[in-house]
Structure formats: structure tokens, C-alpha cells
């Protein structure tokens, strides 16, 4: 697994969280997590999960919480709940 | 004085003063003819650079400006001679022998109507009515109207000012 790809994922997660950060934190985390779950292919989430096991360096606070929520259980059932 | 008496004299194109002229009139409603008249007054003719500049400032295409310039008899795309003789060839002047007068002038100047002498001194043109029909035949030399015009009278008008 190349580190550059991980860097890309970290940047993507941060970018997503930066959009939501204007909202109250719980909503921001939820929004970021939902976005990642909806749009990231399982490999990407798995790779992020692995990065989290090493501490998730580079992720900002919201992105870190969101990734923990969205990427930890990749193989779990569909997470879509409707609505955006 | 030269300029006053030779309104058709061709001054070198000067984009800055042309721009000034255009800017002066561009606020008018329908500013194109006043601008073209003023530019021709200043430069003696309306060359391609003038057409381009007018188009640019008025936000028109050069096609439009060219279309207008080419429509009106007065506008010149090329400079005229230093003196311009316009001889009236409309009916009132016809009744008083203007065709004969035109022939005499052509022979005297060695040019045909719409032409300029080799030395660029005189351009001979026709015009249809100068509003002086009770004193036909009429001519206009460098903007000055002549009544009961004759070859002698017209050539004297050019000669005096040459």
C-alpha cells in the first residue's frame, strides 16, 4: 500500500470535513462520515481504517472522528439510510 | 488657415486625437454619424484605422461601421485632393447648362468626375442639389457655395486658395 494513496485519502477526508466544519460539531462529524460512507469504495475505507490504527495522522479533528465512524467496519451491511 | 480652406486635406492619422473625437460624441443618442462627420472633417477621409477605432469604442463590428460609411456619398475611404469642387447636376442646374459646365471643368482639369488631379490639388465631384436652384448652375468649392457658377468662377475659387 503506497503512502501517497493514504495521503490522498487523508486530504480527501479533511477536504470533506472542511465543508461541514461550519456546522455544529456533531453534525459536522455526521455529515463527513455519511459522505465518506456514501462515496468511498470499500478499499478506500479499509485503507483509511488501517491508517487509523496507526493513529490517523494528518486528519483534522472532525475528519478523524468521521473516519472512525465511517471506515472502521467496511464489511458491514449497507449503511444508506435515505436522505442526504 | 490651410485647414480652414482645405477641409479635405488629408492629415496624418492620429489615433489619440481620433479617440478624443469619438469620446466627445459617443454619449449622443445614435452617435455614429456625428462621429464619422467629425472624423472626416478632421482627417479628410475615413480609412480602415478609423473604421476599426469607431467600431471598438462604440462596441459595433467593423462590418457595421463599414456598411454605414459605404452607404453615404459624403464619406471617403481614401483621401481627396486639397480642393474639392462639387458641381450640381440636378434638374434645376441642368436647365441652366450644368452638363456643359461639367464638361468644361473636366477638360480644364484633365480629369473626370470623381477623380483627383495628379498633383492631388483638385478633386472634381458631382452633387445633386445644393439648394441654390434659383441661381443655377451651382457649385461648391471647399464648402463655399457659388451661384451662377461658371468655369472661370470655379477655377478662380480653387486658384485663389491654392
Amino acid at each position: 500500500m503506497s503512502s501517497s494513496t493514504t495521503d490522498t485519502l487523508v486530504r480527501m477526508a479533511n477536504d470533506i470535513s472542511n465543508f461541514f466544519r461550519i456546522q455544529p460539531e456533531d453534525q459536522a462529524v455526521a455529515g463527513t462520515a455519511d459522505h465518506i460512507r456514501r462515496y468511498w469504495e470499500p478499499r478506500m475505507r479499509a485503507k483509511m481504517a488501517e491508517h487509523l490504527t496507526h493513529g490517523g495522522s494528518g486528519l483534522n479533528a472532525i475528519a478523524l472522528k468521521a473516519c472512525e465512524r465511517a471506515c472502521k467496519s467496511v464489511s458491514s451491511a449497507p449503511i444508506y439510510r435515505g436522505g442526504t | 488657415m490651410l485647414k480652414k480652406h482645405s477641409p479635405h486635406f488629408h492629415d496624418d492619422w492620429d489615433p489619440e486625437s481620433a479617440r478624443g473625437i469619438i469620446e466627445q460624441y459617443k454619449g449622443l443618442e445614435g452617435p455614429l454619424l456625428p462621429i464619422l462627420n467629425a472624423l472626416q472633417e478632421r482627417f479628410g477621409h475615413l480609412g480602415d484605422p478609423a473604421v476599426r477605432l469607431v467600431a471598438e469604442i462604440l462596441n459595433l463590428t467593423r462590418a457595421e461601421v463599414h456598411g454605414v460609411v459605404s452607404f453615404y456619398h459624403d464619406y471617403r475611404r481614401e483621401p481627396a485632393g486639397r480642393h474639392v469642387i462639387k458641381v450640381c447636376r440636378a434638374e434645376a442646374c441642368q436647365s441652366m447648362g450644368c452638363e456643359d459646365l461639367v464638361g468644361r471643368l473636366e477638360r480644364a482639369l484633365g480629369i473626370h468626375l470623381s477623380e483627383t488631379t495628379h498633383d492631388r490639388r483638385v478633386t472634381l465631384e458631382e452633387v445633386y442639389c445644393l439648394g441654390n436652384c434659383a441661381l443655377s448652375p451651382s457649385a461648391m468649392v471647399d464648402g463655399e457655395l457659388l451661384g451662377r457658377a461658371s468655369e472661370e468662377k470655379i477655377l478662380a475659387a480653387v486658384g485663389e486658395q491654392a
Binding site: - | P31, M96, Y128, A134
Partner: protein, 517 residues
């Protein structure tokens, strides 16, 4: 009392050396230390007498003419009471002038054209002041009642046009004065703008008030540089004296106007072409409808009137529509400023009520030809007017009477030809002129005029004369009924009238045959 000496600054007078005369007068006043002032008036319209010098006396103005600069010393030395070969006596007693009925040209040549005070003293501004106290509808009614019809040529009732503009709602409306006086044989617009410009300004202001238009344009042809300059000077005076601008003459009404110079296009005398030109476009004809009164300049409701029509409005408002209506005959009411031109002994401007005959004008006022040869033809109404023989000289001047004989009054130009005229040549010229001045939009005019001239050439060369005359007749029908505007539509009038009244000039086959024998 300071002596007033008048030398016209009218373009016709200038064309005969009036400036040199004026300079001589000024020099004479100074060298003699006279208590005198030189006034540059307009022309009286006695153009064969230009330059006409006048000296004011308690008994009236004494005229001299035509005067050369060299005559000035002797004239002033002799004084108004003395004798002089150029002396004409009291100008207003000269029959040519005494026999006129001047309403529109009441002041022309009498006043200093740029003195608004003089204008006012001589009856000016009365109409406008009255109009300012009237409702627009009442002003329009007054003009309708006067019976004034467009003096540009079409003869459409002026007041009706105004009513349409008045009734068309729009945030902006315009008064456009058509001073693109291109007809050969006409010069009344020019004389008026040079000799009594405030009359036109006042007339336009009244039109503005009557229709709700606050802006006017006067479109002056470029062949009239002198009139353009003079009229602009008058506008400047009018603005300064609040005849134009905001709250004119202290009222709550705004009206301003601008003079615009044409660029050499006879067609721009047609109202829609004129509007295109004012908008800065090629002077191509617009189709109608919509009428300019509804969608005219910049698509706004627009009054387009001839300069003489507008300059006649002040006298109508000042003296009432009924006063004006009492002049004239039939449906031709009021007076018409006629212009005597061409090969004529006494050329000039004659303003008379409708109804007198061509003979009275040409022989009475005009005195026959300049050349002294017999009159053979006369063209009334400009280049698109009919050529008439002397046998029609008893037709009275009246729109309908002229139309009944296949002619038109047009803008009142009368061009006289002596017996040297070749009517086939004149017919060819009618086509040729149409070809030169065609805007090029509609096919009958664009191609037809060219082909007409070419076919006339063939006739004049004696080629297939009968067939070609028939072709010219067919072409004339195509142009008359098919053209978009009056230029193409009326070009057949001089052609057909020449062929009808002077057939001998067209039978070149016969002439050629005769020459061959």
C-alpha cells in the same frame, strides 16, 4: 437713431458675393464714422436680386440689388433718399413680394435671424406661449383644424400625425424635423433655417408639448453646411434664453433639440430612412407599419414633420387654426412656400395661398425664362415630380388638382426648362437619379432604376424604340406598384409624364430614320 443696413447671410446671397458686400459695408461704416450698424438678415426670397442690400428708413426699407462690393461706396454716399442705379425702392413694395401672402416666411429677411428679441417683437413666441396654456389635446385640435398638411411632399395632415403620437403611451417620444431638403428646385427649408430659425424651434417646441415629446432632432443635409451652422447658433441662443431646455419660457415643460448633419443621401429625406440615419445606421427604408408615430426613432413614438410644416405651427397657434384655414382652396389649406428655380427670370421664394395657377406663378412672378427662350416644360415637386407642358399651366395649385393630372406639388419646387430641353434625356435622368440615390433595399428600385436608364439609352439610340418604350412602361408599373418607398414608387412619374406629354422626344427611331434619309 442708429441706421440699420441689411446684407443677407443667406447661402444663396453668399453664393453671389454677399460677404464681400457686407465687408465693404462694414468698412464704409467705419471709414465714414457712420452711426450705423450692419445686420446680417436672412433672404427676402427675391433671389435674382441677391445680394440685396437694404437701408432702413422711417418710410420703410429701401433695397438695392443685385449689389456688388464695388457698389457699396456709392450707395452709402447717395443715402437711402438719393438715386442709384441699383436702387429698387421700398422692398415691400416690389410686386414680387407685395403680391405674396407670407405666413410661414413672415419674418424671413426682415429680422436678425439670431435675435430672439426681434423674433418676439415680430410676432414670434406668441404661439408657444399660448400652447403652454393649453392641453396637449387642444393644441393637436388646433393644428388639425388649421388643415395643415405635410409640406415635405406627402401632404399628410400634420395634426392627425400628432394625435397618434399623443395617444401612444411611451416614456420617451421624439419630434424629428425633416430638413433633408434634397429635391432639386427647393430651398425653402434652407432659407427658413438661415433666415428665421426660431420659427422652426418654436414649432418643434409646440409639437413637443402637444405630443409629450421632450426631445427633438433636426436632420439637416450635409449640402447645407451654412444652414447647419446657422441653426446651431440659433439653438445656442434658444437654450441661453430658455426657449429650449428645462422648463421652457418659465413653464413646467421641458424640450430640447439637437441638429444633426446628414452625409449625402437623398433617400434620407424619406422619413423612415431618415430615422435609420439618425440612429446611426445605413439609411435604408423601413417598411410600414409600424408607423413612426407609433414606433419611430429608437422604436419610440415619433413625430416626423418637414421643416416648413413645423415652422408653420407657430402662426397657427398664434392666430388660430381658423385663421390659417381661411387661406387656400379645397382640401389644400393655408399657404404654400413655392420655390421658383431653374431657367427662370425671377427665381426665388413665393408664399401664397393654395389655388393660384402655375401660369400665375411662372409667368406672373417668375417672368418667364432666364434665357429668354420659350418655356417648354416645368417639373413641379422635385426629381420625382411630373414634367408638364405649358398646356397644363392653368391647373390650380392644389394637392388633389395636381394629382388628378398625374403630378404632385411635393415640397413646392418648380423647375422651369426652356425649349432646348430634351425630355427623353430628362426621363433617363429620372431613372439615373433613382439609381444613384436608391438605398438598394427593394428590387424594383435597386435593379429597376439601373435597367430603366439603360433602356432609355437604347431608346435614345433608336434601338427597338417601340418595344423599349413598352418595356419602360412595364418597368414603371413594376416600380410604381412594387417599390418599398416613394423613391422607386414615384420615379415613374417624371418618366411617364415625359413620355405622355412629349412623345416626340422619344421617337428616336423616327429621328434616326430622318437623319439617315
Amino acid at each position: 437713431m442708429t441706421l440699420r443696413i441689411f446684407v443677407p447671410s443667406d447661402a444663396a446671397a453668399l453664393s453671389m458675393g454677399a460677404n464681400a458686400v457686407a465687408t465693404a459695408v462694414q468698412a464704409e461704416i467705419e471709414s465714414r464714422g457712420m452711426d450705423a450698424v450692419l445686420v446680417r438678415n436672412g433672404s427676402r426670397g427675391l433671389l435674382w436680386l441677391e445680394p440685396l442690400l437694404e437701408i432702413e428708413t422711417p418710410d420703410g426699407r429701401i433695397g438695392y440689388g443685385p449689389v456688388a462690393a464695388a457698389d457699396v461706396t456709392t450707395i452709402l454716399a447717395a443715402g437711402a433718399a438719393g438715386a442709384h442705379p441699383r436702387k429698387l425702392g421700398r422692398v415691400d413694395a416690389i410686386p414680387y413680394l407685395a403680391n405674396q401672402q407670407r405666413l410661414t416666411f413672415e419674418r424671413c429677411g426682415i429680422t436678425d435671424p439670431l435675435s430672439l428679441d426681434e423674433y418676439s417683437v415680430h410676432g414670434g413666441l406668441k404661439g408657444l406661449r399660448r400652447a403652454l396654456d393649453m392641453t396637449p389635446a387642444d393644441i393637436v385640435k388646433e393644428v388639425i383644424d388649421s388643415g395643415l398638411r405635410g409640406r415635405g411632399g406627402a401632404g399628410f395632415p400634420t395634426g392627425i400625425k400628432w394625435r397618434t403620437v399623443l395617444q401612444t403611451e411611451a416614456p420617451q417620444k421624439y419630434i424629428v424635423c425633416n430638413a433633408d431638403e434634397g429635391d432639386s428646385g427647393t430651398f425653402s427649408d434652407r432659407m427658413l433655417m438661415e433666415g428665421d430659425p426660431f420659427a422652426l424651434i418654436e414649432g418643434m417646441a409646440i409639437a413637443g408639448i402637444a405630443t409629450g415629446a421632450s426631445k427633438g432632432y433636426v436632420y439637416i443635409r450635409s449640402e447645407y453646411p451654412h444652414a447647419f451652422a446657422q441653426f446651431n447658433r440659433a439653438i445656442a441662443v434658444a437654450r441661453e434664453k430658455n426657449l429650449l431646455g428645462r422648463g421652457i419660457l418659465g413653464s413646467s415643460r421641458d424640450f430640447d433639440l439637437e441638429a444633426r448633419l446628414g452625409a449625402g443621401a437623398y433617400i434620407c429625406g424619406e422619413e423612415t430612412s431618415l430615422l435609420e440615419s439618425l440612429e446611426g445606421k445605413r439609411g435604408q427604408i423601413r417598411f410600414k407599419p409600424p408607423l413612426p408615430a407609433i414606433s419611430g426613432l429608437f422604436a419610440k413614438p415619433t413625430v416626423v414633420n418637414n421643416a416648413i410644416s413645423l415652422a408653420t405651427v407657430p402662426v397657427i397657434l398664434a392666430k388660430g387654426g381658423g385663421f390659417y384655414r381661411d387661406f387656400g382652396m379645397g382640401r389644400s389649406r393655408g399657404t404654400m412656400p413655392l420655390q421658383l428655380a431653374g431657367n427662370i427670370k425671377r427665381g426665388g421664394l413665393v408664399e401664397r395661398a393654395f389655388g393660384l395657377t402655375l401660369r400665375e406663378i411662372i409667368e406672373g412672378f417668375g417672368g418667364g425664362t432666364w434665357s429668354g427662350r420659350p418655356v417648354r416644360a416645368v417639373q413641379v415637386g422635385g426629381p420625382l415630380g411630373a414634367y408638364w407642358p405649358t398646356s397644363l399651366f392653368d391647373v390650380p395649385l392644389d394637392y388633389e388638382a395636381f394629382a388628378a393630372k398625374g403630378g404632385m406639388i411635393g415640397h413646392g419646387g418648380i423647375v422651369v426648362f426652356d425649349d432646348t430641353v430634351d425630355l427623353a434625356k430628362q426621363a433617363r435622368f429620372a431613372f439615373h437619379f433613382c439609381a444613384i440615390e436608391s438605398c438598394g433595399k427593394c428590387t424594383p428600385c435597386r435593379i429597376g432604376a439601373r435597367r430603366g436608364a439603360e433602356t432609355m439609352d437604347k431608346i435614345m439610340r433608336g434601338e427597338r424604340v417601340v418595344q423599349n418604350i413598352e418595356l419602360v412602361h412595364d418597368l414603371c408599373e413594376t416600380m410604381r406598384d412594387g417599390s418599398l418607398c416613394a423613391l422607386g414608387g414615384l420615379t415613374p412619374m417624371p418618366v411617364v409624364s415625359a413620355m405622355e406629354h412629349f412623345p416626340e422626344d422619344f421617337d428616336r427611331g423616327a429621328a434616326h430614320r430622318a437623319a439617315a434619309e
